[in-house]
């Protein structure tokens, strides 16, 4: 690792590695992250790079598997001599990369959701992450339910890592907000029909149903609920913060409420919001380049890279100092996802208020709270 560190200084470009799930199960998330990263690389270099030096991003696809992620991680560190690595999209791959980052003392900024990526802190000295943790989303939901005066909830979650982590946080934080989980169900990502689970939920005395998953499951659930005539509120996760959920579920999507980052609807963000500028310019650039919305995942890709760029611009140009910078000097940094304040025991650095609540009305996500 020592010799590598020397090599980095000599380079006339700043080399940054980025590993995202361009293909495989995580690709709907990984693609916006990948695109955002490419977009930014182009933009930074067109604007003259960092102190005259260009940024070179070595992009790699881990195909949503931890094995591939490990291979690429080794390549980034030893073959490409990057100063830091971004990624990966999924928690599984991020955890696998974490081990290598720690062994080789390379800063890693993940786009995975799971809290275990950055905790316990002793095992995560070199690892940071930018996405809202599920805990933030859960807090946001519970705050909302408290306002509405509901405290009996049903959970229906995907049995994959995302759903599972959601359930964990829902359970962990329920006590703090006086919530009672009356029923907890799960489904598999590919299941064609969730009526069985919904029937059980219908028979319970839950006042609201929290659905944790990514498309298309939650859309099927919305549709099935409507068919069954289930009439308790449907609260989703940030996993469906995209237009495609509404396209799929159609009318059944009306009234679905979710916690989300603000990138979902830049136009609805009040102009006095601190993030307004960052979000709208990134959103516009992304739209004009790719002709599709970046979704929240685009913002993870954005923040991951921009945090490193921030470090480089302030003179932290080797692995050690980048890590130091991230941990100590990122204070109130305004990103697309939220406002980051890292510290030695918080490598995520976000608060629940970086999320907002959105509701589907008239076939569109609209800002609710």
């Amino acid at each position: 690792a020592c010799s590598d560190t020397e090599a980095q200084g000599d380079a006339d470009v700043y080399k940054i590695g980025a590993i995202y799930s361009k293909t495989g199960a995580g690709s709907p998330l990984g693609e916006p992250e990948w695109n955002a990263t490419k977009l930014l690389e182009k933009k930074i270099n067109e604007e003259g790079g960092i102190d005259g030096k260009k940024v070179e991003i070595v992009l790699a696809d881990d195909e949503s598997t931890p094995e591939k992620a490990m291979e690429e991680m080794n390549r980034m560190i030893h073959d490409e001599n990057v100063v830091a690595v971004l990624g990966s999209t999924t928690s599984g791959a991020s955890l696998a990369m974490k081990g290598i980052a720690m062994d080789n003392e390379v800063p890693l900024v993940s786009a995975g959701a799971a809290v275990s990526i950055i905790s316990p802190v002793e095992e995560a000295k070199w690892v940071f992450k930018t996405p809202h943790s599920d805990a933030h989303a859960v807090e946001r939901i519970y705050m909302h339910l408290q306002n509405e005066g509901m405290n009996k909830i049903a959970i229906l979650a995907d049995s994959n890592a995302f759903g599972e982590s959601g359930v964990e946080q829902l359970e962990a934080l329920a006590g703090d907000y006086g919530m009672e989980i009356v029923i907890k169900e799960s489904y598999n990502t590919d299941d064609p029909d969730m009526k069985t689970q919904l029937t059980k939920i219908d028979s319970s005395d839950a006042e609201a149903m929290i659905v944790w998953g990514t498309n298309p499951g939650p859309a099927i659930i919305a549709k099935n609920s409507k068919e069954l005539g289930l009439d308790i509120p449907y609260i989703g996760s940030h996993g469906i913060a995209n237009q495609s959920f509404i396209d799929l579920a159609g009318e059944a999507a009306e009234g679905v409420t979710i916690p989300t980052g603000k990138l979902l609807f830049p136009t609805q963000i009040p102009e006095d919001d601190e993030q307004y500028d960052v979000i709208s310019s990134f959103y516009d650039d992304y739209m004009s380049e790719y002709d599709s919305a970046p979704t929240n995942f685009g913002s993870y890709g954005y923040d991951n890279l921009m945090l490193i760029v921030d470090a480089l611009e302030s003179g932290a140009t080797d692995r050690e100092s980048i890590r130091e910078y991230l941990e100590n000097d990122v204070q109130g940094y305004v990103g697309a996802t939220g406002i980051f304040t890292f510290s030695a025991d918080d490598h995520n650095g976000l608060e629940a208020d970086s999320m907002v609540l959105a509701e589907v009305s008239a076939g569109e996500w609209t800002l609710k709270e």
């Binding site: 931890p66 599984g92 062994d103 799971a114």
Partner: protein, 345 residues
């Protein structure tokens, strides 16, 4: 002594292969390739076991990744949660899959062909679901983490060349053991089961017992591979041990050729090579997107089956066999007919 008329183990082959393994890291200049070669070694271990099962016992398993997973998770849990030394947990990473195979083997003895394939597939899925759902032990779908490294008299094996050698040392051991088995009376008994089970049992071969033993051995090999994989990574997750994994191993064996131990070895290397090649192509040629890589991969799988239906290794072996020997054989076959004819005409 050189014996005529039986398959014999070629020490030359093993020696040559060992040399190749030893010098490979110096040829592979990048850490990426070394990591790939390390994985190839881990897969080789599983594939050799599966090859024994398929090519010699005539069984098929669509759930081999589950044994691999049981090996990986048992060592992960024992070392990270209960603080056992990795070397001790190696024994359990071998024994646990063996025990499961033993129980399962008894019940599966009556199944054949696709039915057996289904049973192993079902078993693989059940294990996968348990890895996800049994959160208390496995930490669920996002994965188990915090697995310690293997140490040997103060030396720590971390990803890179040291781990590469560790993995391949085990792989070579597994290859030699397997070669020994197939060149023994038991290997012959197994091959005979493949051709005619009824004749084989009339020769006194306890077919059920040998099938079971091979099933157990293949599970043990998978367990070893799981152990190596777990301690190579900081974390493991159920996704690595699902159906995709089982199919990957199956593909390796079929493409390499299941009727020889080397077939499985070459299969593991071939798949690694194909996927690296396709990926490299993707980074060179811009229209080969990462999606297109899958198209290409599927295409190559089909082409290999079409053009090398018996697998890669028999094809290579046939090429390598000196032409002289070939000609000799031809003459001999001719002689047989001639002898026959002479007796009669």
């Amino acid at each position: 002594m050189k014996r005529k008329g039986i398959q014999q183990m070629s020490w030359k082959g093993i020696a040559a292969f060992t040399v190749l393994i030893l010098i490979l890291p110096f040829l592979l200049s990048t850490s990426l390739m070394i990591t790939k070669a390390t994985f190839a070694g881990i897969y080789t271990i599983v594939a050799v076991g599966l090859g024994l099962l398929m090519g010699f016992a005539g069984q098929i398993s669509l759930g081999q990744a589950a044994f691999y997973g049981v090996g990986a998770y048992s060592t992960a849990i024992l070392t990270a949660t209960f603080g056992l030394s990795p070397w001790l947990s190696l024994l359990i990473a071998i024994a646990a899959p063996a025990l499961i195979a033993y129980i399962l083997g008894h019940t599966m003895a009556r199944l054949h062909g696709y039915y057996l394939a289904m049973a192993t597939l079902a078993f693989g899925i059940v294990i996968h679901v348990l890895l996800v759902e049994w959160k208390g032990f496995t930490k669920g779908a996002s994965g188990f983490y915090g697995i310690p490294k293997i140490e040997f008299f103060g030396f720590t094996f971390t990803q890179g060349i040291s781990y590469y050698y560790l993995v391949w040392a085990f792989a070579l051991l597994v290859i030699v053991l397997s070669l020994n088995i197939i060149h023994s009376r038991i290997g012959r008994a197994l091959r005979s089961i493949h051709d005619s089970e009824v004749a084989s049992s009339s020769m006194g071969v306890d077919t059920g017992r040998y099938k079971m033993q091979v099933f157990i051995i293949s599970a043990m090999f998978a367990g070893i591979a799981g152990w190596l994989f777990a301690h190579m990574s900081y974390s493991i997750s159920p996704g690595s041990f699902g159906l995709d994994g089982s199919i990957l191993f199956l593909t390796m064996v079929v493409l390499g050729g299941s009727t020889s131990v080397w077939g499985a070895v070459f299969g593991a290397l071939l798949i690694t090579a194909i996927s690296s090649f396709v990926q490299a192509l993707g980074s060179k040629i811009s229209f080969i997107t990462s999606d297109f890589e899958h198209v290409l991969y599927g295409l190559i799988l089909m082409l290999v089956v079409i053009f090398l239906p018996q697998g890669l290794f028999p094809a290579i072996a046939a090429k390598l066999k000196p032409l002289l020997e070939y000609a000799g054989r031809k003459k001999k076959a001719g002689n047989i007919t001639a002898v026959k004819g002479d007796q009669r005409a």
